[in-house]
Amino acid sequence: MASVGECPATVSVKDKKLLEVKLGELPSWILMRDFSPSGIFGAFQRGYYRYYNKYINVKKGSISGITMVLACYVLFSYCFSYKHLKHERLRKYH
């Protein structure tokens, strides 16, 4: 991450977050990401803890934290079974 004294204009491309990368720099930003297995696993872990600490690990967590996960799971399963569900539509010609 950028050290404390640097102003944003001099931060290197590699350390920028996605929303701060300019459009022309996008290919070089993507190529500089860590695509090794441990890098990908680290990305999943970071994403998991970001969601967990925002919605579930709070003092008065509500049911929406886990409902969002289940809704995503339903959508995901629907995408995977679309191939079979295609044939069950109410149409004259399939």
């Binding site: 998991y48 934290g65 289940l70 799971y73 339903v74 399963s77 629907y78 079979h84 044939h87």
Partner: protein
Amino acid sequence: MNENLFASFAAPTILGLPAAVPIILFPSLLIPTSKYLINNRLITTQQWLIQLTLKQMMTLHNTKGRTWSLMLISLIIFIATTNLLGLLPHSFTPTTQLSMNLAMAIPLWAGTVATGLRLKTKNTLAHLLPQGTPTPLIPMLIIIETISLFIQPMALAVRLTANITA
């Protein structure tokens, strides 16, 4: 009607690869662990439920019998979450596959029978004959009890499969 009768029971695939493994691992994401005494609401609810079932199951056992509690509670949690997640629309329930239920039933059943045979051989063999049978029936009953003993894992597995599939 489906193109064949078994289309609705097919395991999900991604481009031909079995996608069952991520789906079986998904319930573990919903059960977080914690190293604190006082936790968020999700973990507290789950811990309360687990303690409720554990006390119901394990108060009747002695110290040695309670060594089974981890195995049994994790089994209960796995089957409960997997089956409940299967109630969501379009989701896939791994326990509808007979292969998975047999994989759970046979080792557990064999473990209990083998432990019983090794540690308390006389009692185990004595169980094969119910109390108070008339003498002429003894040979037949021993065979019947042996067969019923061996059918137990099949019965366990098929019971879960059929009920969840329905």
